[in-house]
């Protein structure tokens, strides 16, 4: 194992897959000459040239569609959205085309494409640039949705996404790019399958389901709670579609409690879907209702003090766990 940053893990995944498969290319705004708005694609242009690392004009619907069309006839595009907020102008391409083509054509066409980029709040980028978009995509049949929270998951899931024969929505995090973590040594290839949750922390008192940036908030909260003698089991689904809740159900059978922690708005989305399945599949095990800790139900304000107030905090996670544990 070695330590690298989340950003580098993503870059390695793209580099390795582009090395092994000539049909893979990267397209997006500033991915080439600028080396990526967040430097994720740094060095890829020099290595693969302008044919395979393509800078685009600002036309998300256009280049997302170009990617889908290219995928229909055998290429494997990686489409970078400078941030996922800009996927909204390409929304129809993803929902009405990418997710539908395989079935509309009765299986005659495939759309092996990855849409990737940073998702969620990125420190004071405010109202139009802070969307946590999982709720818009995770509910759509025909798409896969990944949201890795560590460098290792980022690399292993992106490699799987690039090799997938289906459209994949890949949600990264601007505030995660600098995060360091262990990944397999060079030469050791790891493909992390979709639909396999990860038990990140073992505990017997309360089950916490979390992913993305809040995963780290929840892990910190779990450490703090351990000091009070409350041991949390922290489970990261890693992929929101397919969603693997087997380990969560098994965990709740043991802890009898569950708290879901996520960045996206409280109404609906993966957060509510997980609650729905847990209450249905672990009904007889629950000693308390499933609680959620999420971003507040407001557009993201600019001011730092307010942004911190809106996003899930360690305190809110601790309170929720204590609530479901009927502890003070």
């Amino acid at each position: 194992m070695r330590e690298i940053r989340y950003r580098e893990a993503l870059r390695e995944a793209m580099l390795e897959e582009m090395d092994r498969d000539e049909t893979v290319f990267l397209m997006g705004e500033e991915v080439g000459h600028y080396q990526g708005a967040y430097k994720v694609s740094e060095g890829l242009l020099d290595r693969f040239g302008e044919r395979r690392v393509i800078d685009t004009p600002i036309a998300e619907a256009g280049f997302a569609g170009v990617g889908i069309g290219a995928a229909m006839v055998g290429l494997r595009p990686i489409i970078e959205f400078m941030t996922w907020n800009f996927s909204f102008v390409a929304f129809d391409q993803i929902i009405s085309n990418a997710a539908k083509i395989h079935q509309m054509s009765a299986g005659a066409l495939r759309v092996p494409i990855v849409f990737r980029g940073p998702n969620g709040a990125a420190r004071q980028v405010a109202s139009q640039h802070s969307h946590a978009v999982a709720p818009f995509y995770a509910g759509v049949p025909g798409l896969y949705v990944c949201q890795p929270s560590t460098p290792r998951d980022a690399k292993g899931l992106l490699k799987t996404a690039i090799r997938s024969n289906n459209p994949v929505v890949f949600l990264e995090g601007e505030t995660l790019y600098g995060l360091k973590g262990e990944v397999p040594d060079e030469g050791v290839e790891e493909l992390i399958p979709f639909g396999v949750s990860k038990v990140a922390r073992v505990g017997s008192d309360c089950t916490i389901v979390t992913w993305g940036r809040p995963y780290h908030v929840a892990m910190a909260a779990a450490d703090a709670l351990a000091k009070d003698g409350i041991e949390c089991e922290v489970i990261d689904p890693r992929t929101l579609r397919p969603l693997d809740l087997e380990p969560v159900i098994a965990s709740v059978a043991k802890t009898n409690r569950c708290v879901v922690v996520h960045e996206h708005w409280p109404y609906g989305g993966p957060g509510a879907e997980i609650v729905d399945q847990v209450q249905r599949r672990a009904f007889d095990h629950l000693d308390a209702p499933v609680e959620r800790v999420s971003g507040l139900d407001v557009p993201m304000p600019y001011a730092l003090n307010l942004e911190e107030y809106v996003l899930p905090t360690e305190e809110r996670v601790i309170d929720a766990v204590k609530r479901v544990s009927y502890a003070k």
Binding site: G65, D92, S105, G107
Partner: protein, 338 residues
């Protein structure tokens, strides 16, 4: 830069002379489309076909001329008004009609319906129902041809009503910037649903739009299949040579409503009758007679096609219904062979 022809008069540049056998083949194809659409309409009325049904009647020469301007390896995209191009490209009437009937034997196995026909073997890539949504896909297949240095052109059809939407602009911008091997064909049938062009566009001559993308523009009428084949041929060759995309506006007219649910009250009987003077089938029929083809030969051909279409309807009626397993099994493509 866009050459002046972009905004030229309608007078065709040196009217081409048709070849008898070739024109006969094209007449057969156009007639097949016409009869297919007429039977589709009848069966829609009978309730055998559901959803939306957009007929190509009146525009047949465009699909047929286009197909003859293309090579088998070239990619074709069309809107929901897609039966004509599918048949012109060689899809069997059985396969097309069975799709309309929602049967497993249909070209999309009952998953797609009228608006989403596909014939991937023949490189007919659909059948798209979101206005402007398929232009970027077409640019994408052209991008792939360039990426792989393949000798393949993409042709993409859409209506004049589709030129105001963002999807049109972005696909045109990228194709022009990257000089993709693609031909954008705007079938200007004068109406977007019930809205005439003058209420959707500040421009009358849409081919002027090519200038905004440093693209070659062309513009001509759509009732003479020989002219269409030639002029589209020029654009296709330009793309094949690597000289970049072309934006072509073809002036045409649909003789039926926008879809089966549209009584087309927004246009006058006289306008319709006057337009029918340039019915592409009658025009071609007259050309064939002029070339010395016997009236009787054409009558026999018409009968032959009538039988072909009747057989297609019978086939569709008797075919097995669309299958649950296909629906459930095509939400995601298998990963194994990844």
């Amino acid at each position: 830069m866009a050459p002046e022809r972009g905004s030229c008069k309608l007078a065709p540049v040196g009217k081409p002379v048709p070849d008898e056998d070739h024109l006969l083949k094209q007449y057969r194809s156009m007639r097949t489309i016409r009869r297919f659409e007429e039977e589709a309409a009848r069966n829609y009325a009978k309730g055998h076909i559901g959803g939306f049904l957009h007929l190509y009647i009146g525009q047949e020469a465009i699909a047929v001329g286009a197909v003859d301007a293309l090579q088998p390896q070239d990619y074709i995209f069309q809107t929901y008004r897609d039966h004509g191009i599918a048949l012109a490209r060689g899809m069997t009437p059985e396969s097309a009609m069975a799709e309309l009937f929602g049967k497993d034997a249909g070209c999309s196995r009952g998953m797609g319906g009228s608006m989403h026909m596909f014939d991937v073997e023949r490189n007919f890539l659909g059948g798209w129902a979101i206005v402007g949504g398929h232009l970027a896909l077409a640019a994408g297949t052209a991008f792939k041809a360039k990426y792989n240095q393949e000798d393949r052109v993409t042709i993409c059809f859409f209506g004049e009503g589709s030129t105001n939407i963002g999807g049109f602009h972005e696909a045109m911008s990228l194709a022009g910037l990257w000089k993709l091997p693609i031909v954008f064909v705007c079938e200007n049938n004068q109406y977007a649903m019930g809205t005439p062009l003058e209420r959707t566009s500040a421009l009358d001559d849409l081919s002027i739009k090519a200038k905004g993308y440093a693209m070659v523009g062309d513009r001509f009428e759509g009732h003479d299949v020989t002219l269409i084949e030639e002029r589209l041929g020029e654009a296709v060759d330009r793309a094949r040579r690597g000289d970049g995309p072309t934006f072509v506006e073809i002036l045409t007219y649909r003789f039926r409503g926008h879809s089966m649910s549209d009584p087309a009250k927004y246009r006058t009987r006289t306008e319709l009758e006057q337009k029918k003077q340039l019915d592409p089938l009658q025009v071609t029929h007259a050309q064939l007679i002029e070339l010395g083809v016997a009236e009787s030969q054409l009558d026999d051909l018409d009968l032959e096609i009538d039988e072909l279409i009747d057989a297609a309807v019978k086939f569709a009626e008797e075919a097995e219904p669309a299958r649950e397993e296909v629906m459930l099994g095509t939400v995601y493509a298998p990963e194994d062979d990844a």
